[in-house]
């Protein structure tokens, strides 16, 4: 193994070392982010407008787990168990769902600007929510309003799914979905939904207009176990099935035809990814309103740090998204106590400068 030795061995060794290095960094990142996420969760459950001593929070949670109802008395119990805990869990779920959706879309469309909105979920859900806010009082009065689940989240979810389905049908010919067509048709449908939402805001009264504004900025307020139990089964499939998509998306990075020749079931990957994303984003929007920024920026942050391998990118995006949203929610809840800030304002305020800093630091990696 001196200079005379054949170079292929050297190259292979170097490549293996590189891959091993990447993998080690990745593993470290997974462990690190998991710990950080846990820590943030603990802080989030411990902090709020009402000061409850950490010991008491632990006591309440412990009593709940062990079924010891004697300790479950008082308002602080309700605050921890029925206000904070579902809220933090919803934040973890929605944040993870949005970030993974963003990563999937960027991989699928091979476009760094892709975000979950591209498959039409956000615009469709936004339109449906606006319609529920503005027209709900007129057409849904009475029985609909007494349903266990408010009309708005259900409407938003259905609106998102219908739009995605329409987009998928438009872009699919002969069993093959064209991502380019989907991208462009998504822009068109988005503009249409935007126009209709504008029309709705024109005919809305002052209160409805305020509701629309607040809704479009997103909030984890109003999280409850019921809400969580409805949203979780819709978002979790995306998080559980994402390992199935990782290899396919890695192949797709080479191009669609190349991926196909590698034996990757391109069409099935596309359909599954779009379905999972539509479900997860629809449920997120329904539960938390429009929380922008998480879906597009978290995957980029992760990609800039550990590279584009989807096997790492997807789980790390989930952790990163969950952390960004739960962290932003802590700020949203505490900064104007006893009021709270819409979370969309906070995610962008926290995330954007950080993202810019990362871009400035590592520009050379973007085009690599």
């Amino acid at each position: 193994m001196t200079l005379a030795a054949p170079s292929p061995t050297m190259a292979t060794t170097t490549l293996t070392t590189l891959i091993a290095g990447r993998r080690r960094t990745g593993l470290l990142a997974v462990v690190g982010l998991t710990l950080a996420c846990l820590l943030l969760t603990i802080v989030a459950v411990g902090q709020g407008a009402i000061s409850i001593a950490p010991g008491r929070v632990a006591e309440i949670l412990m009593a709940r787990l062990s079924g010891d109802t004697n300790l479950l008395e008082g308002r602080d119990v309700l605050v921890v168990l029925n206000i904070r805990l579902p809220r933090v869990l919803l934040g973890l779920l929605v944040g993870a769902g949005l970030a993974v959706s963003g990563a999937l879309m960027q991989g699928l469309f091979r476009n760094p600007l892709a975000d979950p909105g591209l498959v039409g979920v956000s615009s469709g859900a936004g339109l449906a929510a606006a319609a529920t806010i503005v027209l709900g009082d007129r057409f849904l009065a009475g029985t609909m309003m007494k349903l266990p689940f408010a009309a708005l989240p259900v409407g938003a979810f259905c609106g998102g799914l219908i739009t995605t389905l329409a987009l998928y049908l438009i872009a699919t010919r002969g069993g093959r979905t064209s991502v380019a067509t989907m991208l462009l048709a998504g822009v068109a449908l988005g503009a249409m939904a935007g126009a209709l939402t504008g029309l709705l805001s024109f005919i809305s009264d002052d209160r409805q207009l305020r509701d629309l504004t607040f809704w479009s900025l997103g909030s984890l307020g109003g999280a409850s176990w019921t809400k969580l139990s409805v949203v979780a089964p819709i978002i979790l499939p995306l998080l559980l099935l994402m390992p199935l998509l990782a290899r396919g998306l890695n192949g797709l990075m080479l191009g669609e035809a190349e991926a196909y020749h590698l034996g990757i079931p391109v069409q099935r990957i596309k359909a599954l990814a779009i379905l999972l994303v539509a479900l997860a984003v629809g449920a997120s929007v329904a539960a938390a309103g429009m929380v922008g920024f998480v879906g597009i920026v978290v995957p980029h942050l992760i990609r800039l740090s550990v590279g584009p391998d989807h096997r790492l990118l997807l789980p790390l995006s989930a952790l990163g998204g969950a952390m960004l949203l739960v962290g932003a929610d802590i700020v949203a809840r505490l900064i104007v106590v006893p009021a709270e800030l819409p979370i969309g304002i906070v995610t962008a305020t926290i995330g954007a400068p950080f993202f810019l800093w990362l871009l400035l630091r590592r520009t050379s990696l973007i085009d690599a």
């Binding site: 846990l38 603990i42 407008a49 009402i50 602080d76 029925n82 109003g222 106590v337 006893p338 009021a339």
Partner: protein, 319 residues
């Protein structure tokens, strides 16, 4: 006792981690919280004291201040702009339709008073689950509505007698206002201009609070073909022929002068332009629909009909 808990939690973490993430998060949260975070305040159950009112709805705040019971208020929403000291003295719980359940609860309210439309419903249901006493107050934009509102607020805070007095007084003022209104021979046409951004007029149409106060003041709302607060085209303004333009006075920004307004093409040819009839009034006074509304309507009436020398309400002098 407290030493054993974190250990239990970690043992639990290993088991649950495989099955269910949420349970793991919960158990490790309590384990690490017990270990790592410094003990801060004692987490006692929130004490129930009778005099801690949280108000969501500006008119409720105004009435409670008018009753002199403001010491009982601990928190108000951001629409509680009158009296001005309210938002300085009390905690601000945010916008009336975007309340935070934990934020409100952090004020340890013994009573939460919500005006019609306060929300969101999720936050309100969390509040009622917490055992906080909640009272909803109807928000009427008519004399009957205002009187009912005052009585309902008084009943909710256990000040029925003084509130009934204020309600009766307000009723008497509205009655006197009605007499004044009956004396108007020819009703004049009024346009309420909410804003004039970029020369685009946003006017108060049918079923708006501006519409309500113009009617009480004995005027005709020329924008009643429009529902709520909406933009109105220049030509429609010209065609509506208002004899007076009413705006809200803005204390922090420039108020448009009659010269500026009536130089604009839409306003140049309307009857109001002749004598440059532009009136600015305090927005909260004008559109609050609380105990001050009869006086506000009287003042507006005097502004619409300067030639009629509308007298001040005799009943307004009463304490």
């Amino acid at each position: 006792m407290s030493g054993s808990r974190p250990i239990d939690a970690h043992r639990g973490l290993r088991q649950w981690n495989r099955r269910e993430l949420s349970l793991a998060l919960v158990s490790s949260a309590l384990g690490l919280a017990g270990l790592a975070l410094p003990a801060a305040l004692a987490g006692r159950a929130l004490a129930q004291t009778p005099d801690r009112i949280v108000v969501a709805g500006g008119v409720i705040t105004e009435v409670i201040y008018a009753l002199g019971l403001q010491d009982r208020i601990v928190g108000i929403d951001s629409t509680s702009q009158f009296p001005p000291e309210a938002l300085k003295d009390k905690a601000n719980i945010g916008y009336v339709r975007a309340l935070s359940a934990e934020g409100v609860l952090s004020l340890k309210p013994s009573l939460v008073m919500l005006i019609d439309g306060a929300g969101p419903p999720d936050a309100v249901s969390l509040l009622s689950e917490s055992g906080a006493k909640i009272t909803r107050i109807p928000d009427g934009l008519t004399p009957d509505g205002v009187v009912a509102k005052i009585a309902a607020i008084g009943a909710a805070i256990g000040a029925t007698a003084p509130a009934e007095r204020l309600a009766a007084q307000t009723r008497a003022r509205f009655d006197e206002l009605a007499t004044l209104r009956a004396g108007i021979a020819r009703k004049k046409r009024v346009l309420f201009l909410l804003s004039l951004q970029n020369g685009r007029a946003l006017v108060g149409g049918r079923n708006s609070s501006a519409d309500g106060i113009i009617a009480l003041a004995g005027g005709i709302n020329v924008a009643d073909a429009i529902e709520g607060y909406k933009p109105m085209t220049d030509e429609a303004i010209a065609a509506a022929a208002p004899e007076m333009v009413l705006m809200m006075r803005n204390s922090s920004a420039h108020n448009i002068t009659p010269e500026e307004l009536f130089a604009m093409p839409a306003f140049a040819r309307i009857p109001a332009a002749g004598e440059k009839r532009l009136v600015h009034m305090d927005g909260l006074y004008l559109l609050g629909f609380g105990p001050r509304t009869p006086m506000a309507a009287r003042d507006l009436m005097a502004a619409i009909y300067p030639e009629a020398a509308i007298p001040p309400l005799k009943t307004a002098a009463a304490p």
